[in-house]
Symmetry: C2
């Protein structure tokens, strides 16, 4: 179909093995797959048994041998982590090779540096596999939504936590029990912190926001809250009130002021109540879904398997094919397709989280004094915090639990009111504080 493309692979773990397996069995896939030659693969251990049949001269223990190999046109980085991944990517770029990576950590932190290097070298760095596993979301954001003014990108972009939350909701299992089983099943790492603390989701929403809004994002400024302190009780109360609880990552435009030098954005990751009739509410198990809202498109959602060897390999191969396709069109022209290259075109800044308006869910322990609901309501009202519902659960001699769902208010208003309420003698504590859609 086109000219042949040499592919070099850094890493032959789960995803790398999946990629190799697609490249070595092109039948029934797009015919362009047959033009891809897997020429060189860097592995940690030459003697380990492998799922794919590779010759001794294809394998090397030296990743530099891959990024320096003149017959390699596209380097696929699937070793993960910051270093040596970052250096190898930059080396491949400086050698004039395009790069495909599934590495959200390195892109979220060093995406600007890598993009600048790629633009200078006239090569592509494609990252479809870094967010949402197999779901096409990066390329649609770049290539299918450019006519829109994007207002909001939100979604469930961590499969491990969504699996845990789904189990908690459907079976009433406690967080600690689910995490143990998720580890046994391989859905959660031995050290699950990156997932359950929301760090992985924060990496991914930073990447999505940079593409959707066209400017680099300061990853370190993303307020991030995980699910490790989430209690089964709140999942249960949310359900009674018509909501599911999801770990939601959100990136939204903060003003309506049209074109501006620096675009103010709010990014955040937090456990959030999602109304049961919302498209994201039905996304269960290890599935992911990303909702993009823009003008004039309205709301589109991309749904599918958020992780796993096969889906992630599908995304990696899609990126290689895109490079092969556009190279075929532009060979010798020496110019990049700006949509595929996805250069940033403006500056973005993260706003003060205290200024961000959203709905809140809070749960208080109270001594069940008559009138406490009224006093909580007045306290919120005094600070212009408008309330959607106050419901009392489990009143008994030990006290009661009061759940409040507000309308949209700023974090600052909310913090002021909560401070005041927690100082009331009849309030023994705030047991939970979540976001709400």
């Amino acid at each position: 179909m086109g000219s042949r493309i040499g592919v070099g692979l850094l890493g032959l773990g789960t995803v790398g093995g999946g990629v190799a397996s697609i490249l070595l069995s092109p039948d029934e896939r797009h015919p362009l797959v047959a033009d891809l030659d897997l020429v060189r693969v860097a592995v940690r251990d030459l003697d380990r048994p492998r799922p794919v049949d590779l010759s001794a001269d294809q394998l090397t223990k030296d990743p530099e041998a891959v990024v320096n190999d003149p017959s390699v046109d596209v380097v696929v980085e699937v070793i993960g982590g910051i270093e040596p991944a970052r250096s190898l990517i930059l080396k491949a770029i400086s050698n004039g090779k395009s790069v495909v990576t599934a590495n959200k950590a390195v892109i979220a932190r060093h995406g600007r540096e890598i993009a600048d290097a790629a633009a200078a070298a006239g090569v592509y760095v494609l990252i479809e596999a870094a967010v949402g596993g197999g779901i096409p979301i990066i390329e649609p954001l770049k290539q299918s939504l450019g006519g829109n003014r994007i207002n909001r990108v939100s979604g469930i972009i961590n499969g491990t936590t969504n699996y845990i939350l789904t189990r908690m909701a459907t079976e009433g299992v406690a967080y600690d029990d689910v995490i143990a089983e998720a580890q046994r099943l391989g859905y959660a790492e031995a050290d699950p912190a990156a997932d359950v603390d929301g760090l992985d989701a924060a990496d991914k929403i930073a990447i999505l926001a940079a593409l959707a809004f066209g400017g680099a994002i300061d990853r370190s400024g993303v307020p991030t809250e995980g699910i490790s302190s989430l209690q089964g009780r709140d999942v249960e109360y949310a359900s009674q009130l018509g909501y599911g609880v999801k770990l939601l990552a959100v990136a939204e435009r903060m003003t309506d002021q049209g074109a501006t030098d620096v675009l103010p954005l709010s990014l955040r990751v937090q456990p959030t109540l999602v109304p049961t009739d919302h498209p994201l509410a039905g996304v269960n198990g290890v599935n992911n879904a990303i909702l993009v809202e823009g003008d004039p498109i309205g709301r589109v959602m991309f749904y599918g398997p958020g992780a796993g060897a096969g889906p992630t390999a599908s995304a990696v191969v899609a990126d290689i094919l895109n490079i092969a396709g556009v190279r075929h069109a532009s060979e010798a022209a020496g110019r990049l397709d700006p949509l595929l290259a996805a250069d940033s075109w403006r500056q973005c800044k993260l706003v003060d989280p205290g200024d961000v308006r959203q709905k809140h869910y809070v749960r208080f322990h109270t001594s069940d004094t008559p009138g406490v609901i009224g006093r909580i309501g007045s306290c919120f009202g005094d600070r212009d915090v408008s309330i959607q519902s106050i419901v009392q659960f489990r009143a008994n001699e030990a006290g009661a639990e009061i759940v409040v769902i507000t309308h949209d208010v700023t974090q600052k208003q909310m913090d002021d009111a909560l401070k005041e309420i927690q100082s009331m003698p009849e309030i023994s504590g705030m047991a939970a504080h979540l976001g709400c859609l």
Copy 2:
């Protein structure tokens, strides 16, 4: 950002107006939008008031003036219908212009002719807006799933019928009442046949199948059943059995025999029971969703507004941007990106619908004779039709209704059994026959 691209517009109705409005307000959209010049627009009536501000020399009543204008690089066809749309598209192509069209009818019937002409002329014909309104589905199929062996594409791809079915399900309204209101609200045409008879969905599934499976589809061979004879009673019974009823369009690979000269496919459009926990079951109102199943990706879904000026215009502009982007990379190279051009790479044939296996839902009127369920069950069993459930509804002195849901069986087996059952004296008729997932 790049060089300027001249856009010519055929038609300034709802979608055309939406496209013009995006092109004339590039702020806050992808910067490449600012490189698009709306140079010429063909309209039916020069004096009609318009939603966008166009100068007299931009407007013409002669569509030929647009496709022959040397300053037009990309022709956008949004007049719809077969002719003169087909001739104008071919004329634009022969003039060396790329084409963007939202016209599913012309692409489903003349796609092969148009693609051949485009390949010969070295131009692109992009059709994102032809299926699923604003939902990115055409480009992801072409550019993001090429590493997969696609097994099945199915979906809800007609917004009018989905609106009607949603109203019937949620409010128990009868078909005739909903269609009248849908017409009042502008969700259904004065002559709704193309929608309610499934013809529009058949056009679209033929287009999706051609891209997913890589070969032209004989549109006239797609078995198509609409919703105009669907009864509210079946929507109600389906709901009691844990299903929603959707007008589903399906394209699936029929064998597992690997690479073959001619790929056997089944395409069909029919009202289908969808289990309530299936991702397509929650797609309501005028929304569309397309589910793509492949190996190794598993299952991904694309969801969003299936129609409307804004979403459809978003898809049209995405196509123009893709042409602008790849042209920027390949200017003077004179070659096409094979992914974007999406040439077909094999032959497909539609199999005999009688050989297609699926689950069925049937409803019989019976005189409530003891034992009739047993006799129906035996009759299916004798023909190897395995049954998932038989349920009796509304038994009274006038008789009863028996609903049967089968496991996967071929249409031929089913037809044989149904013929036999309808000849039983205690069966007064078959009142409904739908598909089932």
